[in-house]
């Protein structure tokens, strides 16, 4: 983890006299006090909260007849009120981590209440509507409390909504997913920006990637794959090029926008590999993929390690793929392994050179 490396480095710098020990302590303390930093206690508390919420849900799923059903509804509503009020009180008292656990219990209990009422009145069908109501409740709670934990729950619920709709409908023309998934992703991203829940951003981006996969699943033609790859390329350039008007906004969101748009571009190219049969098409595709790999390293290599490593991996995989497609059949298995070894060694050498240049550029920029 980052904290472990930070602690080690700080200790090292203190030993070398680059930093005095009290400052090192203060730096570490500052990191620990951040709300987003990892703390075992916080994680365990969240797990406890989710386990307790799961217990509530299971109690209802077991249709516990010993209690009259009106009492059950009132009980679960009281649980929602109790969890939210305790959470609010804890935020006021300055205990945001414990508060997050209570807010999570409240939000999951809301879903339990929806399920309970569905059971009371024997609802069948329309699970999508129930999931959407739950998602909306979580979004509103996340916004009201400005809570990163509830934003994360809302993110997972967005996936659950998509899954429910996907299960219920048969064809893309019947489903709301086409517009619902990007809409939910946008809502989650807005919440992430508002609640400062940086890591939840990944859920939203994964939702968009899943949406593209869904679109391709519905129309699996080369055209769809080309469109997806082109959109990925466009989004990547918008996020990564310093000249782009969106560059500042994307950088503000960290490495993720450039990385996920680059990922979409590569997934589009990957799918195209199975769509194209003709040798000429495949060769052209291979060349494009290699250019994309190099482009990613050149444009984002310096500031975005995730894109850089994805670029390296793509370059290596594509080179081996092209080698096996072209000369693989001529030279036989053992010869092919030899060539592969040489190719990988060459790539490794190139990677080392590039990495060295980046680290040099960094030192120069800092000096």
């Amino acid at each position: 983890m980052y904290r472990g490396r930070l602690e080690r480095d700080l200790k090292l710098w203190a030993q070398q006299g680059l930093l005095d020990a009290p400052t090192a302590d203060r730096l570490l303390k500052e990191y620990d006090s951040r709300e987003s930093s990892f703390s075992l206690g916080r994680v365990l508390m969240m797990i406890a909260a989710l386990l307790m919420s799961a217990a509530v849900l299971l109690l209802i799923a077991a249709n516990w007849e010993a209690i009259p059903r009106l009492v059950r509804v009132v009980g679960i509503v009281a649980l929602i009120w109790g969890a939210y009020l305790t959470g609010g009180l804890l935020i006021q008292r300055g205990a945001p981590r414990l508060a997050a656990a209570f807010l999570a219990v409240g939000t999951v209990s809301f879903g339990g209440a929806i399920a309970l009422i569905g059971q009371m009145y024997h609802f069948s069908g329309d699970a999508l509507q129930a999931m959407l109501v739950w998602f909306a409740g979580a979004v509103i709670a996340a916004a009201l409390f400005r809570s990163g934990a509830v934003t994360a729950i809302a993110g997972f619920l967005a996936f659950a909504v998509a899954w429910t709709d996907w299960n219920e409908a048969y064809r893309a023309s019947d489903t709301m997913l086409l517009w619902l998934m990007p809409l939910m992703a946008v809502i989650i991203i807005l919440l992430v920006r508002y609640t400062d829940a940086g890591r939840v951003r990944h859920i939203a981006y994964l939702l968009l990637v899943a949406w593209l996969a869904f679109i391709y699943g519905e129309h699996d033609t080369p055209t769809t794959a080309i469109i997806i790859a082109s959109l990925g390329a466009l989004a990547y350039l918008l996020a990564a090029l310093p000249q782009s008007p969106l560059h500042a906004l994307a950088r503000n969101a960290g490495a993720a926008p450039a990385f996920y748009s680059y990922l979409v571009l590569l997934l589009g190219l990957l799918v195209l590999h199975s769509e194209f049969d003709a040798v000429g098409d495949r060769l052209m595709l291979g060349v494009i993929t290699l250019f994309v790999a190099i482009g990613g390293i050149v444009f984002s290599g310096k500031e975005n390690g995730a894109v850089r490593y994805l670029g390296y991996a793509t370059f290596a995989a594509e080179t081996l793929y092209l080698a096996s497609e072209t000369i693989g059949s001529i030279i036989g298995t053992s010869g092919f392994f030899l060539i592969s070894g040489l190719v990988v060694a060459l790539i490794a050498w190139a990677v080392i050179v590039v990495e060295r240049r980046f680290s040099k550029a960094e030192t120069k920029a800092e000096a």
Binding site: N63, Y84, A99, G125, D126, F145
Partner: protein
């Protein structure tokens, strides 16, 4: 961004607003169903065996009805030109035995009629081999297809259903949404549904 980054609703107020909104949604769901039970039109439906017959579905029984199959002959009005998600309005009329059967169905609307009840189906996947030509029968659901029972009590109902000895009494709202009111097992009412 600077205003946003410092803005926060007082946490207690946030708690009250969030809990109130969620309670209101839950209350709306309950009252929507309770009002159907209070004011809806009564119908009685025959259930049919379901395959696989002996699969106990955990804590609810799957119900299937004679009115779940709509024969081509009773469909009136416009027929969808393309395949897609559709809903039907179905007119039910009581038979001599007190059980209600489907007498007319339409993809559009049906006029209310004395002595009949209109029921709206859930959206279903309409599929026709030839565009504009109805298949021989349409299979629809109404939102009445599940009955939650205490653990372990489902088997009796499933057996009765498979021996065609189970009937369902439902109430239907003005807009055609049905709600199960009680189950009738071999002529005897069981599981009377309370309003709340």
């Amino acid at each position: 961004m600077s205003i946003l980054s410092s803005f926060r609703i007082p946490p207690i107020a946030a708690a009250i607003i969030a809990a109130s909104l969620q309670t209101a949604v839950l209350g709306y769901m309950v009252e929507g169903r309770a009002s159907i039970l209070r004011n809806g039109a009564d119908i009685r439906l025959k259930t049919l065996p379901v395959d696989p017959r002996d699969l106990l579905r955990g804590d609810y029984v799957i119900l299937s009805y004679a009115i779940s199959t709509i024969p081509k002959s009773i469909v009136t009005g416009e027929v969808p030109k393309v395949n897609g998600r559709e809903r039907l309005v179905v007119r039910l009329k009581p038979g001599a035995d007190g059980l209600w059967t489907a007498t007319e169905a339409s993809f559009g609307t049906l006029a209310p009629e004395e002595g009949s009840v209109l029921l709206r189906t859930q959206p279903f996947d309409y599929y026709s081999v030839t565009d504009g030509v109805l298949p021989d029968s349409l299979f629809v659901s109404y939102g009445l297809e599940r009955y939650y029972v205490p653990e372990g009590e489902g088997k009796v109902l499933e057996d009765a259903r498979n021996q065609e000895e189970l009937e369902v009494e439902a109430r239907v709202s003005k807009d055609g949404t049905p709600q199960i009111a009680r189950l009738i097992l071999r002529g005897e009412p069981v599981y009377d549904e309370p309003l709340y």
